[in-house]
């Protein structure tokens, strides 16, 4: 099957006071129709920036390299206007903060319907009717009346539902959800994610789910991309990654996941801090925190090794020949 979205060697630089810092380094992944792809990683690993590059909503001081192919066309070469016509229409995005994502002085109805009237040739009245329908579908009761309410009349969970309704308004092919439940409490989290998953199935959309919550990933994702220090460390189908994580970082992420019936009582944490983008060591960015690191990791950046089709890991441990011992200890650890 042809991928809907193909990100090829995407690099991103941020320029601050004349100094260029490489934030994303050669990111590549594919998103297939009707797929849920999870992008996981710590805060500051570049997850959000990679999503914003797809939307072309990057800050002004950002520069990109590489290709983002949507149905074979490179989005990075699109004009602002062409990109605008795509945003909210074919590719839409739900952000992390439902409390501040809605405009406080405009009614909910207006904020949903304006997306529709911008992209579709449809009367304002029809758009309002559609908005009421959308509100019903995201599970808000009394939708017609609520259209005239303002954001401050809604709770955080309800605002996120409204945001989902907005992102769904034009039935896009891709929805990017950037930590959509981080700001919400746990019971609401499940409701919102189930809603996403239900709507995605009903409308055959693809979902890019950005999160740092591995529990969410295991439950909803088909494919997982693990970010660290602006790089993809490991990517592969969800079941395989959870069954046998090949990168020490992925492994560590899974270890820090609390679970019922797990033998280990104390949760493991990953020691150390996320890398600083400004100092480029030339080695693996995870090296300082990696339990299995050896000399080579400090000096040389590992390439992406293809383990199976669809499964790539950026780690020297996979070159078992030269470092059998380390490899062994890692296997034992698993």
């Amino acid at each position: 099957m042809e991928p809907l979205l193909k990100i090829k060697n995407l690099s991103l630089y941020i320029e601050k006071r004349g100094k260029k810092t490489k934030i994303l380094r050669n990111i590549s992944y594919n998103l297939y129709p009707s797929q849920t792809l999870a992008v996981v990683g710590e805060s500051g690993s570049g997850k959000t920036l990679s999503a914003l590059s797809i939307m072309n909503l990057l800050p002004k001081n950002a520069q990109t390299e590489g290709e983002i192919l949507y149905k074979g066309k490179n989005l990075l070469s699109f004009s602002q206007e062409k990109m605008r016509q795509l945003r909210g229409n074919k590719i839409s995005m739900v952000f992390q903060e439902p409390m501040t994502s809605l405009n406080p002085v405009l009614t909910i109805g207006r904020q949903i319907s304006e997306t529709i009237t911008t992209h579709k040739k449809i009367s304002r009245k029809k758009a309002i009717e559609k908005s009421a329908n959308l509100l019903k579908r995201v599970g808000l009761s009394d939708a017609e009346r609520r259209l005239n309410d303002y954001p401050h009349n809604f709770s955080g969970g309800m605002r996120q539902r409204v945001m989902i309704a907005i992102s769904m308004a034009c039935l896009p092919e891709i929805i990017i959800a950037d930590e959509p439940t981080t700001a919400l409490d746990v019971t609401v989290q499940a409701q919102i994610l189930n809603l996403f998953s239900k709507l995605r199935k009903e409308n055959e959309m693809s979902l890019i789910l950005i999160t740092h919550n591995m529990a969410i990933v295991s439950q909803y994702a088909d494919f997982v991309v693990v970010f660290y220090g602006g790089m993809i460390m490991e990517k592969g189908p969800c079941e395989k990654i959870f069954a046998s994580p090949l990168h020490p970082y992925t492994k560590a992420l899974l270890d820090s996941l609390p679970g019922i019936g797990r033998r280990k009582i104390k949760l493991t944490t990953i020691e150390g801090m996320p890398p600083n983008f400004e100092e480029e060591t030339g080695g693996c960015p995870f090296y300082p925190r990696c339990k299995f690191a050896f000399e080579k990791c400090a000096k040389n950046l590992p390439p992406e090794f293809e383990v199976e089709t669809d499964r790539r890991v950026r780690c020297w441990l996979l070159t078992a020949e030269k470092c059998r011992d380390v490899r062994k200890s890692f296997d034992n650890y698993l």
């Binding site: 839409s92 405009n103 304006e114 911008t118 401050h152």
Partner: protein, 343 residues
């Protein structure tokens, strides 16, 4: 909203009692003979004998609180006393001077609002561009230029150089028409009255007289408004909902005009309403430079001539205007920002 308005209406007398009591206690530092003018109704009553009579009649030797209630009674009857500086009763003086000031204020506050917000928004949207730098430099330099310097400069160029935009409120020609009896004064605002009377020549004449003082007032306040609007816009442009609006694929112009501006103009409303009240309270320097018969000049003259009735009347009027101005600002808030509900 209705509740809020009723509450505000009920508050108004309380505020006014507070202000007047404060003012009255201050005037009480003066000897009774001087305070007697508060009760005189004409120049004829300003003789020592009648003043003594007034002191006796209005208990000006009595304790403060009794005097105050006496004075308040008079005020409620509409008797504000006789203003020596204006040579007429205080109520008549206000009636004579306030419309001129109101006209000047309206004709400056409207351009102030539109020019200020337009340039402020433009400056914020095109941040760090040539137009932004130009606007900001212009704003700062106009703000630091003293009113009278700018006023005299304009007067020199236009009136002195080209003989247009003469000082005063109207020419002798219009004066004759306005006081001819055929000219009906509906509002006291001569531009509007001239149009209502269908006299276009008087309209143009009044407008040409008001143009320079209005420009001077405009320049002083527009600079402040540009700065506030720009800051407020920049703050709003950084908010999450703007990024969401872009992610929705809305057009940039639409985002600025319908999303950002509405939020950014909330603090601007306060500033404009305060400026409006400040201008209404009289702009003495501008009035003096352009020989404009506004209320500010009268207030200053009254103070200089120890015209107590005039000063009290002026202070009372300013206080009422201030309270009204703030109430209007609060109502505008509620209209713009749905989060503000006055219950």
């Amino acid at each position: 909203m209705a509740n809020f308005l009723i509450k505000r209406a009920l508050m108004l007398p309380l505020v006014i009692i507070g202000i007047t009591f404060l003012l009255f206690s201050l005037t009480n530092l003066l000897p009774p003979e001087m305070r007697a003018s508060l009760y005189a109704q004409s120049q004829k009553e300003m003789t020592p004998e009648t003043l003594k009579e007034i002191i006796r009649l209005h208990k000006l030797d009595a304790p403060l609180i009794i005097q105050y209630s006496e004075w308040l009674k008079n005020i409620l009857k509409g008797e504000f006393g006789y203003s020596q500086s204006a040579n007429m009763e205080v109520t008549k003086a206000i009636k004579a001077y306030l419309p001129a000031t109101l006209e000047l204020t309206l004709l400056s506050i409207i351009p102030i609002f539109f020019l200020g917000t337009w340039l402020g928004v433009l400056s914020a949207v095109k941040k760090n561009s040539f137009i932004d730098h130009l606007t900001r430099a212009g704003a700062i330099s106009s703000y630091s230029l003293p009113t009278f310097v700018f006023g005299l400069l304009l007067l020199m160029i236009f009136y002195g150089g080209f003989g247009i935009f003469s000082p005063g409120r109207y020419s002798i020609y219009s004066d004759a028409i306005i006081h001819s009896g055929n000219f009906r004064q509906f509002t006291g605002l001569l531009t509007i009255d001239a149009l209502l009377n269908g006299n276009f020549r008087v309209f143009l004449d009044v407008l040409s007289h008001i143009f320079l003082p209005a420009s001077v007032l405009c320049l002083g306040s527009v600079a402040l408004l540009i700065r506030i609007t720009r800051t407020s816009m920049l703050e709003e442009l950084n908010k999450d909902y703007v990024r969401v609006a872009r992610a929705k694929g809305l057009k940039e112009n639409y985002i600025i005009n319908f999303h950002v501006k509405r939020n950014a103009l909330i603090p601007v409303i306060t500033l404009v309403s305060l400026q409006f009240v400040r201008l209404l309270g009289g702009v003495v320097i501008t009035e003096t430079v352009f020989d404009y018969p506004g209320i500010g000049s009268w207030g200053v003259k009254a103070a200089q001539q120890l015209d107590l009735a005039g000063v009290m009347g002026f202070a009372l009027m300013t206080a009422i205007l201030f309270v009204l101005g703030n109430t209007i600002a609060d109502i505008l808030y509620a209209l713009v920002d749905p989060r503000i509900r006055y219950e």
